[in-house]
Amino acid sequence: MISMQQPIWNFEQEPYDEPPDETSINLRAYFDRMDDEKMQQYRPEWTDEQVMEWDENFRDDGNLMLLCCERDVDVKEYRKVLEECIRYRNRVRGKIKASPL
C-alpha cells in the first residue's frame, strides 16, 4: 500500500549517476516508502523470483507495478536501485533517526 505521508527518507533526491527520467525518480520514491525493517530483510543472494515474491508488488509480466512511468522496471533495475537505497539508508540512518525530518 502506498503511504500518503512523505517518508522520513529522501533517497529520491540524492544525486544520480546519470540524468533521471520520471521512472528513475518514481522508483527511488517507491523505495523511500518501503518500511525499513522490510528493506533490511533483503538478501543479495536471493534469486530474482525470490525478490519478486518478497516485494509482492510485481506484475505477472515480470515488471514492477510502478505508477505514472513511461518505462517498465524489471527486477534487474529494481535490485540495482534497491541496493543503492540500502547503502543510502545505512549512511543516513543514524542521523535521520536522531533528528526526524
Binding site: I2, S3, A29, D60, L67, C68
Partner: protein, 504 residues
C-alpha cells in the same frame, strides 16, 4: 503479484460486462474489491444464471447481451440502493432495452482511449478477428490495434475516438544525421503510445472506415527536449518536433503530463510556467489551440507528484482565453479508488469533495466567467460508479454545477476497463438523487445534458460536424464490418485489461 483483470476473472469463473472492482490503469493503486462489490459480483452471477436458464441461452451469450448488462445494474441497485434507472424487464428481453434506450440517441465521442500496450490477447485466433479486413502485421502491436477496434467500435456504441497518448520523447535523428521515422524514433522497449504510432493508427483506421472515426493527440511537451549544458528547454528541437506532429502526424490536440520527464530534464513542468507559455504561443501561431492535460492521479514522488495538481490551470487558462484546456480525470487525485482513502481524508462525505478535484472546482468558483476549461471524466465517473454510485453523483454533480454540462467531456480510459459499453450504459442510466440535489445544489442531469457530455461538447472542441458524421457513418466500411461481425455472432469479451491483485 498483479495480474490483468481478465485473468483474475477467468480464474474465478467470473463473467461480468461491468467491472465489479476498480482496476489500475498504472496511474493509481486500486482498492481491493470491497464487500459490497463482492455482493454485486455474486448477485450478477446468480441473476444471470437464472435468466440465461429460463431464456434457454448459454450464460456467455446472455452476459454479452443488453440483458446481461442490465442485470449488472439491477444487482448494483440491490446492494447500493435504487440508483440506476433499470427495469426488471430489461434483464429479460432485449426489446425492452431497445425501447427504453433508442439506438443512436447519443453521438458518442470517447476522448480518452488507449491500446493495450502491445499485449497479445487470446481473441487473436478467432475467425471473425482474422477476417476483420485489416491488412496489418501478425504481431502484438497489430493485434492490440485490432482488439482496440473490436472492443471500442464493434462492442460498444462509441462512434468516434480520440487516441490518447502516453508521454514519450521521439528521437529526431541518428548519429549520421538521418531523420528517423516511425519505430526508429522510439527505440527500445517502453514506448507505449508515441505520437507517431497514434497518428499512424488514426490514419489506418480512417482509411479503413472511409470516414473520420479517429482523432489523435500529440505527446510533445515543454520538457521533452532539454539542453543539459544550459539546463533549459531546447527550443529548436521542440519546434522541430512541434512542426512534425502538427504537419506530418496531423494531431488534433496536445496531450500533456506535467509529472513525466521523458527528456530527463530533472523535473516536470507546470501549465503556468515560462516554457509552457512559450509553447502556447508557438502552438497558437501554428493553429493548434487545444491542450488535453492529465491532472490528478500521480505517484507520490516529492519531485514530480505535486505537478499533477490542477492548481496551475487557473493562471494558464486566464492568460490564454483562446486556448482550450481539457483536464483529464477531472483532476481527481486518489480518493475512493485507493486503499487508504478514508484515513487520508481523500474524500469528505460531508461536502462530497475529492482531493485535487476540489482544487479544479474552486478555480471555476473563483472565475465564473472563465470559459476555456473542460472536465474530462475517464477513470473518474466509471470507477466512482462501481465504488459507490453516490460518489459518482458527487463527482458529476460538482463538474456540472460549477463547469456546466457543456464543459464536461466523455472519456473512458478504455481499454483498461475493457469495452466501454458498460460505462456508456451506466451514464445513460445515471441520475443524481433528489436528496443530493437538495443538500449540495446539484442539478438533475437531463438527456440534453447527456447528449452534450457524450459527444456534442467534444465535437465542438474538435471541430466535428455531427450532422455530417451521422450521415456518413452508416454507410462507411466500419459500420459494414460491425454489421458483419454481429451477424457472425461476434460478442463482447467482457474482459478488462487493467491490473488487480492476483489474490483479490
Amino acid at each position: 503479484m498483479w495480474i490483468r483483470k481478465i485473468l483474475r476473472d477467468l480464474k474465478k469463473g467470473v463473467d461480468s460486462p461491468m467491472p465489479t472492482q476498480v482496476v489500475s490503469n498504472e496511474e493509481f493503486i486500486p482498492r481491493r474489491q470491497t464487500e459490497q462489490q463482492k455482493q454485486v459480483e455474486y448477485l450478477i452471477g446468480e441473476l444471470a444464471k437464472e435468466r440465461a436458464k429460463k431464456l434457454g441461452m448459454d450464460r456467455r451469450a446472455f452476459m454479452a447481451s443488453t440483458m446481461g448488462l442490465a442485470t449488472c445494474f439491477l444487482a448494483s441497485n440491490k446492494v447500493f440502493g435504487n440508483y440506476w434507472d433499470v427495469d426488471e424487464a430489461e434483464t429479460w428481453e432485449e426489446a425492452a432495452y431497445q425501447e427504453k434506450w433508442p439506438k443512436g440517441e447519443y453521438f458518442i465521442i470517447d476522448v480518452q482511449t488507449h491500446f493495450t500496450n502491445g499485449q497479445v490477447l487470446p481473441f487473436r485466433n478467432l475467425e471473425f478477428v482474422r477476417n476483420m479486413g485489416f491488412n496489418l502485421k501478425n504481431d502484438a502491436e497489430a493485434y492490440s490495434f485490432q482488439n482496440f477496434v473490436k472492443e471500442i467500435f464493434f462492442d460498444s456504441e462509441t462512434e468516434m475516438v480520440v487516441i490518447s497518448g502516453v508521454p514519450t520523447r521521439e528521437q529526431h535523428r541518428d548519429e549520421s544525421g538521418k531523420i528517423l521515422v516511425d519505430q526508429e524514433r522510439t527505440p527500445g522497449p517502453g514506448a507505449i503510445l508515441p505520437s507517431w504510432l497514434m497518428a499512424k493508427s488514426k490514419k489506418i483506421l480512417n482509411e479503413l472506415a472511409g470516414s473520420t472515426r479517429a482523432l489523435c493527440q500529440g505527446n510533445l511537451a515543454p520538457n521533452h527536449y532539454w539542453n543539459r549544458a544550459t539546463n533549459s528547454m531546447d527550443r529548436a528541437a521542440t519546434l522541430e518536433q512541434m512542426e512534425r506532429e502538427l504537419n506530418l502526424y496531423k494531431i488534433d490536440s496536445w496531450k500533456w503530463y506535467c509529472h513525466f520527464d521523458p527528456g530527463r530534464s530533472g523535473g516536470g513542468f507546470q501549465l503556468d510556467d515560462e516554457n509552457a507559455f512559450w509553447f502556447y504561443e508557438e502552438s497558437r501561431k501554428r493553429g493548434m489551440k487545444l491542450f488535453s492535460v492529465h491532472k490528478g492521479y500521480s505517484y507520490q514522488s516529492r519531485t514530480l507528484g505535486h505537478l499533477a495538481n490542477p492548481k496551475d490551470v487557473e493562471k494558464a487558462a486566464l492568460q490564454y482565453p483562446d486556448i482550450n484546456f481539457v483536464i483529464y480525470h477531472s483532476a481527481i487525485k486518489h480518493g475512493p479508488n485507493e486503499p487508504n482513502w478514508k484515513e487520508s481524508n481523500k474524500y469528505d462525505p460531508t461536502t462530497g469533495d475529492f482531493e485535487w478535484h476540489s482544487v479544479l472546482m474552486d478555480i471555476k468558483k473563483r472565475n465564473p466567467r472563465m470559459n476555456n476549461v473542460y472536465c474530462e471524466i475517464g477513470s473518474f465517473f466509471g470507477p466512482l460508479a462501481i465504488a459507490d454510485p453516490v460518489l459518482a453523483m458527487h463527482g458529476m454533480g460538482k463538474n456540472i454545477k460549477y463547469y456546466g454540462a457543456d464543459h464536461v467531456l466523455w472519456g473512458t480510459d478504455c481499454l483498461w476497463w475493457g469495452s466501454p459499453q458498460w460505462v456508456i450504459d451506466a451514464f445513460k442510466r445515471f441520475q443524481i438523487s433528489d436528496e443530493l440535489c437538495e443538500r449540495f445544489g446539484y442539478k438533475k442531469i437531463t438527456r440534453e445534458d447527456k447528449a452534450k457530455i457524450f459527444g456534442l461538447n467534444a465535437a465542438r472542441l474538435y471541430g466535428i460536424d455531427v450532422k455530417a458524421r451521422r450521415k456518413a457513418f452508416p454507410a462507411d466500411t466500419l459500420t459494414r464490418l460491425k454489421t458483419a461481425y454481429l451477424e457472425k455472432g461476434g460478442q463482447r469479451s467482457n474482459a478488462a485489461y487493467g491490473w488487480v491483485r492476483a489474490n483479490d
